[in-house]
Amino acid sequence: MKRCAKCSQKAVVYLPHHRLALCKGHYLEWFERRVERTIKEFRMFSREDRVLVAVSGGKDSLSLWHALHKLGYQADGLYINLGIGEYSKLSEEKAKKFAQGLGRNLHVIRLKDLVEDIPTLKEMEKRPACSVCGNLKRYYMNKSAKELGFSVIATGHNLDDESATLMGNVLSWNLGYLQRQYPVLKEGNGFVKKVKPLCFITEKESALYALLSNIDFVEEECPYSVDASSIEHKLLLSQIEEKSPGTKLRFYLEFLRKVQPLLRREEKLELKPCSICGEPTSADVCSVCRLKQRLTLSEKGQGS
């Protein structure tokens, strides 16, 4: 039986890449300290900032919101209902219940009311559902934060998300995406500051924090993410991690330390307001307004 490295009580969590065994109380403390340290290291926000947490009802976003609240930050939630049947219904219920327990505001918006739901868009678009969904979530997160007066958007992206995304971007040498892969995306050009305080926390650590904090989170997977390439990349990285603990963290940390500074020097993305909605874009019309135009055309086509 492993003993807690801090108090010698029975350990409930063992973190191989940190060679650390911890009891429940010390694990929760370790997690929150790690989140706090990441926030400070990357100057994400202070206790004076109003932070909008993008909440999906899953373990990462709810753990993040819980930890920020415990650490004394002013954090409210934004839930975007994607219109994916029972999955969205259950996620919204859990997000609302959690917000109530925390005593913080949860702002709810529905894609169906703003554009169209994901199942309809999936049928219409040639891109994978995750790409359409990610695009819309980023757009409405930014727009909602500005309308609601928040200075920072915090997302629950964790180390597994970041290392899998990095792997995908490296495999195709997508320099544009690599340039923008950073724990903080600064405000400006119509964008609200975006931060990822869980970027050094693994998915398992986040699930353990949620479980040990009695957070009721959605365990079901989004039905459209089953074949997502990010899951394949995560499984591949976990095989390496099992044989060589610490690989994922090193892969991401060394990218941030050694490669990111070189890439950011080259960054020259010029943004302007979309001629239709005013949100920032590199083209004349932003991707969401173009999607809405295609949707109108498709509806007209069906009507004729």
Binding site: M1, K59, D60, K137, T155, D160, K204, L208, A228, K234
Partner: protein
Amino acid sequence: MKLRVQYRGKELDLEFEENKVKAKDLLKAMNLSREYAFVVVNGEVVEEDFYIREGDQVRVINAISGGQG
């Protein structure tokens, strides 16, 4: 022995030849890695070598999620 396992909002019935199985054997039977999954028995997170017995309340958490954030 037979185990009823709560997994991602569903209940799975699994059968093992032995009358007690280790948590790591359960993960293996479900084709999951300890890197991203863990076992909760009677409400407690358990170590890989913990023996699960028939009648225990078992939940397996798979932390991997996909899609774009």
